[in-house]
Symmetry: D2
Subunit: 451 residues, 4 copies
């Protein structure tokens, strides 16, 4: 830190550390991928790993460095190539063609990352990033954390198409996990509750004079939040009960055994149409192995079902009953709940019920797969709620291009709450609103029941 | 009515009158259509008029007569042909192929209608329809009223593809309508409100000892309601304002003149993609006429815009500023609201705000098109709300096939409230929840702002 | 015929008789259809019966009456509605939307036909149709004959989608037909042959001074021919053998029993892809009935296979071994030939081999389905050849819009030769070149082997 | 070469040299591509460069080494991954998902190539490859040459989607090329000609005792030929004239200036539909640059048109009038010919006319783009003919999987003759039959007129 920037120095130092820590995790995750792995786009909704690495970098250049007087991009074409959907910023590479960009190379994208890292840190140290720039820097860190999860989801999707079943990170299945018993139910009392994040979403709001953060309550953290979590507002909750743990693989197999995928009365109309069009008969990435049981692991009886395998970032291996079910669409989650004589919680019930529950099973780069289900925790898998993704009352889109972050997607999607084993540590929070279309299966999504 | 059925007679007589009145309106609407007009299916989401006539009849045979001991259908194949989506009832003609059914003929479908009419009335008179059957008869009448509106929507869509611009019912444009001034805003106070219909939706609940119906309040009619309007429940409403009138054609033209269809920042992401994919630059059925103004009607200056015409059930004619805008999708309604610095109301705000407002501009078979916009009324055009179509807390699907009526469509759609100039008289009510996918434009849908 | 038009009278009378005869057959074929039957378009490649009736009429108005000085169309919109693909004539109703034209009504189209019939005959009698007009009148008659076959093909396709299995014309299956024995082979000697029609295709060319027609040879009729059959030219034919009869249903069942639809080595690459995409396992319109054999006709053993039924213009009924196989695509015909250790004939071999064979089994309106296979005849089913549909050397497109008749389709199609049981009497000839894309199955097409 | 294998040594040595030379060119062509460049599949019809490299290698392993007693593949999964369409060999990676195979890596594919190279040469030296194996080795070399051209075509297609306009090989445009004058016409006399390659396509047939090849005539080389070029057979050719040079870019610009892409009367029906669906208004890879002429090269007046640029393997640069037009579909070639008052030659006219013309402008790895048009040569661009791709009389598919090489594609394609600037030296020959669907534009295809 240069002498003289007395006032900004501590905060800049903290911001720089935070920034470099986030950036470093992306590099770690990408380090297991070859140049080849980083190029393809396995479906329109996914993106190449190289693109994730470049796009997150572009975000900092566009929104943070772009505010620094005199900053000029050394590679203006990157603004076109690695813009994602920010219409306000200008034209961009068509989304379905992201996988056709082989130049700049993966190494050049690494160089781009290094240059921007250095420019951001230098600007921070020089005190050349203004208040709004610091807010956008923080937003950029959260944006990059989101893309870390997307990178892993997308790589899993890509690798799943390779008949050689590539292993992203090697890890043995732990067959000793005890299958959880019947779920407990937490009573949610009827009445008005407060929902959403406090403040305006910047860390400043909650910055205590001592410099530490000061969350006003577990359910309403005063720290960073996305605009879609705000404003904090009142909601009337009807009385109900929320399950204290997620639905397991073992339970899902009972649903399957009971004809879950072949009984139209369990399904929403669009869901049933999707089941038939896509020939779904099990969660995403599951495959029924040959009858000879040749790949049944020794000693796995009980916990491990040799018949069904699933593709994971640890390679293909048998499904494990004690784990939360994963890669199910909203339609499947909804059908399961109906089969179980229950329903999905609303996002408001969810947020109310989970106050005080531990965030568990965030991203462990040595694992990249959920642990067994536990009681009264969140994490491991995202949880579908019955709520459509809509703006909170009083929602205000951020000004400028950053306003294209969340609000424009508020139609035709459902809210997921919690976080997954692919969500970077510290990114999961009780007010977080993730969202996907109802037919999506490539997110790390499972469910929790309500009734 | 036969002698002896003392107890059921008055109620049966009332039910029979109601039934025949509803059935008669369908016949009236169809009487303007040739046999040819009743056959085609102009898109998968639409149905042939003959199909509407037969399907509504099938409903009574399947659900009402099917309960009468000893009843046997004279044409069992009709159960297959005219089932719509009731999976529980058995297989059915694939929806996209409804327009290929030329036999039974339109006249034979008329005969089918007459036979079922007679069988229902006879069964009523003979007291052979039980309590549940009477409920389903009432449901069938509402079902048929819905299909009356669908029949008109679908005929409009069909006719709009005919270069000869067929006229369903002739009527002159009234150019004297005064364009409404600035809208007023009704304040909706923050707090808990009751939403939805009371009772269990059958007319019995609200039947007064004297035999008349007795709505408990304007906002909570004790009369018939669909299952999706129930149960009545509490909702917390944030404070806001709801416009006292609908958005007009004249206002929509300002949106268009201001580049509304070419500014991505006004649109939801899926909406903008739809605008580009469909080349939308005006509401559905609008067409810009040739520059020479050859079809400009004399003396139409001011109220009538010769440049844009719209196809109506009265034929193609210039758009009229004073009318409510019509045939806009949710995406367009949402973009318009954003352009206007406002937003769409939630369905809860809407239901709360419109209590006590007159239902105006229901179906007039001599008109079949909305009148000019008026203050503090509902009707004329359905109004998009910002609410996704989801079950109310405690929603219970009806048992049996009738349970497939509403609940299975509760995903990926938006709620519309009110009613339109195609909605049969008496069918519009404040708790009614209509629903369509966000990109739909063939419904008679407009909007009202909130802020 | 008016007095005074001495010279043209006999020819005009003959032309008028011919014209009215052709027109009358269309009316006869349509007379079995309700108004409803005449409206739908069951796929883009098909057209409504009403459209066929109007389009053939339009042809005479556009090309024949349009040449008569002072003629004015009473319904100019019909030019737009019933033009098919003649780009030179102006815009037209989009092909996939032909089934949405419910007005003019079927009765009005009948009136249109009557008016044009009368106008043509009057103009003939008045000697107001010039030489070129007479040629186009003859072309129009052949054009209408083609559409008579298309009308029947398209009605069959439409009716096949109706679960009630409508009967176009009732007729019992004749189970006594003897299955033909092994086919004989006709040797075609290597060398140069003459292929195609003589003259310029007008009947004048071959008009003998006495007024009769004068075919120069069986293979080179001097009568009417389409431009695509001309000019007559030399082709070198390699030596080969052509089967003296068509492939039968019984033989096709052996192909199926031998795994014909599941052995990729028998198929062209595009053919195999089509088999898999369309789930083909039998010819078009075939359906395997339920195991209980409930619809097995008594005494049908041997000739009639109760397991497979086929939809015909006589309704649905069991397939009959002795009939020619029908509704197979080029891909299937080619695969069958490979399975049989043979091949399809070229169109030149076909034309050479069939010289002198009787034309048999043309359209009998009381039958509308092929008779049993016979030796050394053509007709019953169109026969796929191995030849692509390409212009003959020296092919010259007719001038003006009539030039859009054949030439513009000379790519991506295969030639069929012969005629079918739906081809109007007199329309089948040895030089005739029919053509369809390789995947088409709704034509009345079968095959004959060569080797 | 090992001592002792006296008999086979000379031939084996020659085969090994030939083999290594072909394999080396692939390596050279790939050496300009990064690992990233070799992964994506830019459309279903194209393949990744890495796939081309592996698939050609697989061919030798499958068909040549597979015959060597005791040979075992070290990587059996490669048989699945890099099989292309050989149904007889077993299942394979779905074609549209070739671009998702990132493992094995590009380096591992290089290792695979090296191992197979070594195994083939060792087996040759050891005399362990039998007669049929030698034939298949030769077939494999030609197969790899074909894929060398495909690799370049596909890379061009991929790079064309990259906004940075990557350069495969740098080369300046030569603006001094003189635009050729009016074409001359070569008279082709009516009569019977011999078409196709002699022998059975193996080099043995034509191997002279001295060891040199001994083509029996220019038009009927006794050397290698594909099965689709055989058997040599008689064809009757009508009299005509064939242009002595190809159509140039300058001529094509006249076609465009004359409204070529907007006049339906010039087009086949399917062609016109494609023009409209694809918005074609110029050859593939052409783009009209901004009006300001900012990228007009200095001094380029006359030869170089600054308005239109084209993407080449040398990067994007202005089109050059003297070059043959390139990347036109059959539909465009056919429309151009009609506009020019001419037609395309048949493949038989082409083969007859070009006897004795020099093969010029084959692949120069330092250029990879056609030179200016010259008289009485072939090469530079493939030339569309009017002939559909069909089997020659007496065509016999090779036995076994190698029989899937050509014959199964004999439908729905057109023949191209000659060779292009991407065709490896020695691969072009007068009897060669290339083929593509009529709408294809990514091949290096132009045209030559006939009349």
């Amino acid at each position: 830190m240069t002498v003289g920037s007395v006032t900004t120095a501590p905060r800049a130092q903290s911001a720089a550390e935070r920034f470099l820590q986030v950036r470093g995790l992306t590099d770690l995750l990408a380090s297991r991928l070859s140049a080849e792995d980083q190029v393809p786009q396995s479906m329109t909704a996914a993106s190449p790993a190289a693109w994730h690495r470049a796009h997150t970098t572009w975000f900092f250049e566009e929104f943070v460095l772009g505010r620094v007087p005199g900053y000029e991009s050394p590679e203006p074409i990157f603004r076109f190539l690695f813009n994602s959907y920010y219409e306000a910023v200008g034209p961009r590479q068509p989304r379905p063609e992201r996988g056709l960009i082989t130049r700049p190379s993966v190494a050049e994208i690494g160089g781009f990352r290094a240059r921007i890292d250095e420019a951001v840190v230098s600007a921070l140290e020089a005190g050349r990033i203004d208040e709004r720039g610091l807010e956008l820097l923080e937003l950029g860190c959260h944006h990059e954390q989101q893309h870390q999860e997307l990178l892993l989801m997308d790589i899993k999707h890509l690798f799943s198409h390779n008949p050689t079943d590539p292993v992203y990170v090697a890890r043995d299945v732990d067959p000793s996990a005890a299958t959880p018993g019947e779920t407990d139910w937490l009573v949610v009392v009827e009445g008005v509750v407060q929902i959403g994040a406090e403040g305006d979403g910047t860390t400043r709001v909650a910055t205590h004079p001592t410099g530490g953060t000061h969350p006003t309550s577990a359910a309403a953290p005063g720290g960073f939040s996305y605009d879609n979590e705000r404003p904090r507002h009142r909601v009337w909750i009807p009385g109900g009960e929320v399950a204290t743990r997620q639905v397991t693989v073992g339970e899902w197999k009972q649903f399957m055994a009971d004809g879950g995928y072949s009984r139209p009365e369990l399904w929403l109309s669009d869901g049933w149409a999707t089941v038939q069009a896509e020939d779904w008969d099990a969660p995403g990435y599951w495959r029924r192995e040959a009858e000879d049981g040749s790949d049944r692991p020794p000693g796995a009886a009980g916990q491990v079902d040799a018949e069904w395998t699933t593709f994971t970032l640890n390679g293909r291996r048998p499904v494990v009953d004690a784990e939360p079910v994963l890669h199910v669409s909203f339609y499947e989650a909804d059908a399961y709940a109906r089969w179980a004589g229950a329903r999905l919680p609303t996002e408001f019930e969810w947020e109310t019920a989970t106050v005080g529950w531990e965030v568990r099973d965030e991203l462990d780069p040595a694992r990249c797969h959920p642990r067994s289900v536990t009681e009264r925790t969140i994490g491991g898998v995202w949880e579908w709620t019955s709520s459509a993704y809509l703006p909170y009352p009083g929602f205000v889109t951020e000004e400028g291009a950053a306003g294209e972050y969340n609000g424009k997607f508020m139609s035709d999607q459902h809210v997921l709450r919690g976080g997954s084993a692919l969500t970077p540590a510290g990114h999961t929070r009780h007010t977080y609103r993730n969202f996907f279309p109802a037919a999506s299966r490539w997110a790390a999504a499972g469910l929790r029941l309500a009734r």
